[in-house]
Subunit: 463 residues, 2 copies
């Protein structure tokens, strides 16, 4: 007769988004009793509010985490592979950039669909209880006891939940984090960008085909603003327009149909006819803010831990937000095994590993945003990239691209990826100092010099 | 028959610290109806809690603000002039640095005394009502209506206060600011330093004289920690020990009387016998955190404005915290006159002027802390200072010291002071590149070169 394994600790998770749901599955399978509380209704029976979702991109870090809970294949059925970025210049010129090697793709999926799959899976787990429309009101950071309010038959109710640990997976606007701000020595920053965003749509053609090349992300970078389109499985594209909230060209200043129409006609000439009533949408939608969160520490009294956007909301432009959050869950799963359920070791190790890596990817996302919104009209910058690209073709092992490391190499940490990228930039800055580089850039000695520097300065990092 | 002037808007001030009280006086005299709410009891009848106060230093910016409300003379009776910093090395070597020119002093005063004077003055103003032990619970950021809770005969009461504007003068841990975090696009950061602090005391000698030179601030900078002593009027000194909260040498690790005694004996040999039971005090007191606040914007809906530490809590080491906060009040007083009570102009102008200046002094305070806690064992740094000092003696107009600008020149904004200081540093960095500078630093050509650079790069900033 086999004994039933004894249930281990009781864990409360705030938030049933993709991160909360994945975490619930992982913890339940590690034999913990898990209660997930969500202030919103069950998303599978309610239509989501506008503005909640940018289409999500999944790369290898996300797939690795989805694989350990066995739902990667299911998710992939609803995702669309993207092999490249397509840049649409204002002059109509199109340029392309592959994300990775041949056949390497990142995948686009709607946030709603991904959440549905994860919540449905969580619901089937033996030790997960999901509680929707229950709003967290209080956390005792020394006991991990928390309180929730809810409506029942129109009357307000209230309950207290005991637990051994609380995970805050309640997103960029985390309530747990807001309460944590009043705990001693909790450093916190929320920074709003000047830009806000709205979503726009490109419908499929009548025959179901796409109006833009379907297996690519499309970008219209303009100085100070940006339009991005990500394909869906049905041939449509979800587009996001990033634009200053205030100022001369902004959501606040473009208030008449004429002004908005002129704006699209002038800056987005090629894509304007493809967009679904962009002028009406622009005028009717409320722009959502773009903001960054940084927190220290992530673990309070070894009782309450932050995870996902609650700990590290970052800019979306590098498409790593959810990848990084799923990696939080993945690392936690590994640490639970490694330390055999000793939470006095698990939580500090989780914080130590994930804080620095999320700081790194957040910085990379900021850098990418600066790069993309400044446009490459600088001829030095263009040559710099050309030389690096040429060299990478010859020595791919010695000169991995940042995309390659971040999106396709989950074994390379974000910290390491950033270190390598910083070293590459410093090497290229020296190469650009070579006399007459604009004339001699194709000559062999440039690439010999580059190889020498890469061998001494990059190779040790790549080990 | 003279008409009574009509009362203008109604203004709520949260917080009756020195800033709230000064602001109340200014607004009342500009003929506004002012209600000041404070969660604590009246400090004039209650003894303050431990840990609330570092002795405060007042320099010319503070005096200028105190002068416009006519209480500078009264305050000065309770303040002690400090003409210099005295550095006590671990080896017992003492060095001195004047704050300014001969007879220029900054002034030390207890926070409690200063607050008492300001509150008593506010109480005498025609249109100020002070409400103690009333805790702010809610602010409506679109209407400037706010709510307060209080105890009356042991029962909890609650009231709502209508106003035209709310000023948050409720300090570094501002409740108004915490509520403002939930308003749209409010960027906010609170950063805790590794160091915390406790207060210690040096009593006067039996004859009332001081145990250290009385008209000076005393510093014991050690790598990673720091003791500061500021004189009081009665011959005593209020000391503050800044030390890491955690780590090998920290408040958390020094837990036995023996360890604490060894710590003082080793690092503060000369001052240990002067301190009032430092070991007991160290073991019994709860260290207070050191932290920085940065906020953007300071004005919400043109209805609620932050002022003082609520808007810009900074490191205390440069002694400018309250000077800068009083300058906030002073600038506001000028803007009310300039814009003739047009608050649609006053508040945006206040934010524009004060935000950048407080950012500048906060950065200068951080830099000073880095400088003081790294100690000058670098011979390049020492020579750098020697040359600059030599030059400043020759050309005081061309090379004002940072102290001179920050503490004694209220007409030079903090932004300008920082620009000049940055320019000085860059000039000195070039001077230090001169070949054999360690040999030739006293030669004329060095100072001619310096003069040339100062004339072209500093003089335009000094205009």
């Amino acid at each position: 007769m086999t004994e039933l394994p004894q249930l281990k600790n009781k864990i409360t998770i705030a938030g049933s988004g993709p991160v909360g749901a994945m975490l619930a599955i992982i913890l339940s399978r590690a034999n913990y009793q898990v209660d997930v509380f969500e202030s919103r209704p069950d998303p599978r029976t309610h239509i989501a509010q506008q503005g909640r979702s940018i289409n999500i991109t999944l790369s290898e870090r996300a797939w690795a985490a989805l694989a350990i809970i066995g739902i990667d294949k299911k998710v992939r059925q609803y995702a669309t592979p993207l092999y490249k970025r397509v840049f649409h210049g204002q002059d109509g010129i199109i340029s392309e950039q592959n994300y990775g090697k041949k056949n390497q793709a990142i995948w686009s999926i709607s946030r709603e669909k991904l959440t549905d799959i994860l919540i449905s899976q969580a619901e089937q787990e033996a030790q997960v209880n999901l509680h929707f429309e229950q709003r967290l009101t209080y956390v005792d950071f020394s006991t991990a006891c928390s309180s929730f309010s809810y409506l029942k038959a129109g009357r307000k109710g209230h309950k207290e939940i005991d637990a051994d640990y609380v995970f805050a997976a309640d997103g960029a606007f985390s309530k747990v984090r807001r309460l944590a701000q009043e705990t001693p020595r909790f450093s916190y920053s929320q920074r709003y960008m000047k830009q806000s965003y709205i979503e726009l749509t490109i419908s499929p053609n009548k025959d179901g085909s796409s109006k833009l090349s379907p297996h690519a992300s499309h970008l219209w970078p303009r100085k100070g603003f940006l339009l991005i389109a990500l394909p869906n499985n049905d041939g449509s594209f979800t587009c996001t327009l990033y634009l200053n909230y205030q100022g001369p060209i902004s959501f606040s200043s473009l208030t008449s149909a004429k002004a908005v129409e002129d704006f699209f006609l002038h800056h987005f000439t090629d894509v304007m006819p493809l967009l679904e009533s962009p002028v009406t949408e622009f005028l009717n939608k409320t722009p959502s803010p773009l903001f960054l969160v940084s927190v220290d520490p992530w673990v309070i009294n070894n009782k309450v831990a932050l995870i996902g956007d609650a700990a590290h909301a970052m800019l979306p432009f590098y498409g790593q937000g959810l990848n990084s959050s799923f990696e939080d869950c993945h690392v936690l799963a590994k640490l639970i095994k490694l330390y055999r359920d000793d939470w006095l070791k698990i939580l500090p190790a989780y914080y130590l590993q994930r804080k620095k890596n999320n700081d790194a990817i957040s910085k990379l996302s900021n850098d990418y945003f600066t790069e993309i919104s400044s446009l490459d009209d600088n001829i030095d910058e263009q040559l710099n990239k050309k030389i690096a690209h040429q060299f990478a073709l010859k020595y791919p092992e010695l000169w991995p691209s940042l995309d390659q490391m971040v999106s396709f190499s989950p074994d390379i940490s974000y910290v390491k990826a950033r270190e390598i990228s910083v070293a590459q930039k410093s090497i290229m800055a020296e190469i650009m100092q070579i006399k007459n580089i604009h004339q001699c850039w194709q000559e062999d000695h440039i690439y010999q010099e580059l190889e020498k520097m890469a061998l001494t300065r990059l190779a040790p990092l790549l080990k």
